[in-house]
């Protein structure tokens, strides 16, 4: 069964990468987004209340 045509990606990431330069640091926007999302998740995990009835 030829499934090739049905698997089309919604966001095309296959064009030249975008990069951020800051001093000696060069980082791709893609990597920066990944790292920023990870930090955001970590911060949210600490701050968001965990379900469970409070003890009176």
């Amino acid at each position: 069964m030829q499934l090739g045509a049905q698997f089309v990606q919604a966001v095309n990431l296959n064009h030249p990468g975008r990069y951020v330069h800051w001093g000696v640091i060069q980082i791709s926007v893609a990597n920066l987004v990944v790292i920023a999302v990870m930090i955001a998740i970590f911060v949210l995990a600490i701050l968001l209340p965990f379900p469970g009835r409070r003890r009176k």
């Binding site: 499934l3 970590f42 600490i46």
Partner: protein, 222 residues
């Protein structure tokens, strides 16, 4: 079987059984309660990492059905390759967030150094496993990564027996040796957590150690 035979029965099997039960009583291996301080979203990243690892194995397993070149020619194969890539990104992402949490909890306290060590070594092994995965994609990225990485590995002698230009060798490390090693490390790591329990909170600066409030007659209901 009499209790006496249970306790002192001869043979390797009985010995293994006794040791296993002593180290991991069933209600400790699979508890249905946790200390009250295990109530933070920071505690979900361990299980998220393990789940992602299983998805990595599963998607990798599908790729093995049709072989390493399948995904270049088949749309479905390319999709499965994509699931393998993104499950790896999730695996590494969750693992690092888990590591951040455990570091800030100083989770090695209370004789839990081996839990930290198995976790840290799992991280390093995972970096290696991901690396061999990138090497075996059989595309431009693989060519570049191989011809660059060889310099690092050769410079310290490792390249003499770990040849990143040898596709066959790298593929076998990627699908056999490294997943096995990571799997074993994860099992030991999780068993250590079950054995020692989740590390208690750090004491606040005005206290010596967290004094657990006197246990109430019933467990706190969630």
């Amino acid at each position: 079987m009499s209790a006496e035979v249970e306790e002192h029965g001869p043979g390797w099997t009985a010995w293994v059984r006794r040791r296993a039960l002593r180290s991991f009583p069933p209600d400790q291996l699979l508890p249905d309660s946790q200390p009250v301080y295990v109530a933070s979203w920071t505690y979900v990243f361990g299980v998220a990492t393990v789940s992602a690892f299983l998805v990595v194995l599963g998607t990798g397993g599908i790729l093995t059905l049709r072989g390493p070149a399948w995904w270049h020619a088949s749309g479905f194969g390319h999709f499965i390759n994509s699931t393998h890539l993104w499950s790896v990104e999730l695996f590494m992402g969750f693992m690092v967030i888990h590591l951040w949490g455990k570091f800030f909890m100083a989770a090695w306290r209370g004789k839990r150094a081996m839990t930290w060590i198995t976790g840290a070594v799992s991280f390093l092994a995972s970096v290696g496993a991901a690396f061999t995965g990138y090497l075996t994609q059989q595309n431009l990225a693989s060519q570049w990564i191989a011809t660059q990485a060889k310099d690092g590995l050769n410079s310290v002698g490792i390249g003499a027996y770990f040849n990143v230009l040898d596709f066959g060798q790298m593929l076998m490390w990627h699908i056999v040796l490294l997943p096995l090693a990571i799997g074993l490390l994860i099992v030991v790591h999780v068993l250590l957590v079950r054995r020692h329990g989740v590390v208690p909170p750090l004491p606040l600066p005005d206290e010596k150690t967290p004094a657990p409030a006197a246990a109430t007659s019933e467990a706190v209901q969630s």
